[in-house]
Amino acid sequence: MENANFLYDLFGKNIITIIIVICLPLVFVLVYALIAILAELKISAWIQERLGPMRTGPWGILQPIAEVVKLLQKEDITPTNASKLLYNLAPFIIFTGAYAAFAVIPFSQYFVPSGINLGLFYVFAIGSISAIGLVMGGWASNNKYSLMGAMRSVGQLISYEIPAAMAILSIVVLSSSMNMQVINQAQTGWFWNWYLFGGPGTIAKIWVIPFTMVLCLIYFISSLAETNRVPFDIPEGESELVAGFHTEYSGMKWAMFFFAEYANMFVVAAILTTIFLGGWNSPFNTFMQGPIWGSFWFVAKACSIVIVQIWIRWTLPRFRVDQLMYVGWKVLLPISFICFMAISLFVMLK
């Protein structure tokens, strides 16, 4: 994987192609966010036996565009006693954190914006930037609800990053690489080569299959917590904290938070896809396998995980803070350690 980017191969590595490579995921995120908002509206409505938006365009498919136009027109309020610089900076830092993770996401065999060897490490490090943004926004708002939301979100992010990191590390041990492209390539072939099913290998891998499946579940649960989605949305619990850390935000700055949440949802779904579900690999060996089909498979897998996230949001109620800590520290963490040990042992003895 010398050059994992078809644009560099086609046009050479100059400033214009670099800018295009930087902007391509942004275009994707913008389109994806609109579709995800519509999916959220529609799925929530259908689960509650409503129809959802029906007036804007056929079956309401233009609703997200209408919402964006509405948000653009809204008044942008900065509270008098807020810390102006931090308050205005926070939404952009959160979005930067969410978007920076796209740098290493392998969309296809021949397209990854930056195929660095420490891909997974980078994603994990950059993911913590959003926590800084949350605290910044919550603190600078000079509002007790915002501050409480920010505090809760930090407590939550710190507790749930550890099981997520253990899940990722186990796969790193199995694949012996942190490069997301290499991890994807290792899973080429039939779907039983995915790390969800123990990765490629002989029949002996049957011993790690239960552990990888449990780790996949652990990573999924932790990723829900990291993106502040229900049932882990206590940082913005409407019934207790008005809206949590973004209580004081309005207009486009609020939209940036919203946008970052959806971008983050895709990032965690993309990581889950890459490390457990084979990334851009077709589930059926060479059938529909290729660079363009690769992007199709990748986006399809990631989006179905996003849909599961939405589905869970409209199924489960919110955790209490103590329940959240119980699940994080007493359930996910020990189990992920056990799985990590078991997988390490397997790799050592193999």
Binding site: E49, W311, L316, V327, V331
Partner: protein
């Protein structure tokens, strides 16, 4: 330890049961009625906007007196015997009172239905009409009278003439006990 594993299992299994339930609800027939396109059928005994059949109304003002929020405003003028315009009520009787005014203020109306119970001739009734919102609250004052303002003036004048004539007749008939008669007439007028 056993309790711990049981708790984890309960958490996972109950989440899955919940997800199954919500998944099934995705495909259930939706309850939403697309309102301006489709309407919920209103039952015939629904209490919506009032309607007054003016050729049934005798002008007894029972409805106005029954109304708890005083949203019905009625003014009547007696029909003079030699009025060229005589009207028959729905019941076949002669109209005895012209309705100079019959206003219902739907901004005040609470749709209790007491006026329909009080009406002796079933003139005032609830219709099934419920979409009558307006931009100006004054537009909710519905006028049901059939007479034009000019006609009302005419009728009032006629009644005044008639009463004056009667008064003159009575005055000429007996000069005794005029004081009593005066007071009687005053109460009548009121």
């Amino acid at each position: 330890m056993i309790q711990y594993i049981k708790n984890i299992w309960a958490g996972i299994s109950s989440s899955l049961i919940g997800m199954k339930i919500t998944f099934m609800h995705l495909f259930v027939k939706k309850v939403t009625i697309q309102y301006p396109d489709k309407r919920f059928p209103v039952p015939l005994n629904a209490r919506n906007r009032l309607f007054v059949e003016m050729n049934r109304c005798t002008g007894c003002t029972s409805c106005a007196r029954a109304c708890p929020v005083k949203c019905i405003d009625i003014e009547t003028v007696k029909v003079v015997a030699d009025d060229p315009q005589q009207e028959m009520l729905q019941s076949g009787l002669k109209r005895k009172l012209w309705l100079a005014r019959f206003d219902i203020d739907f901004a005040k109306c609470c749709f209790c239905g007491l006026c329909t119970d009080a009406c002796p001739t079933d003139a005032i009734k609830h219709s099934t009409e419920y979409e009558y919102s307006v931009y100006n609250v004054k537009d909710l004052l519905y006028k049901f009278q059939t007479l034009t303002p000019v006609q009302v003036k005419e009728k009032e004048l006629m009644l005044a003439e008639f009463q004056a004539k009667e008064k003159a007749n009575k005055a000429s008939a007996g000069t005794k006990a005029t004081d009593n008669k005066d007071t009687d007439e005053k109460t009548e007028k009121e």
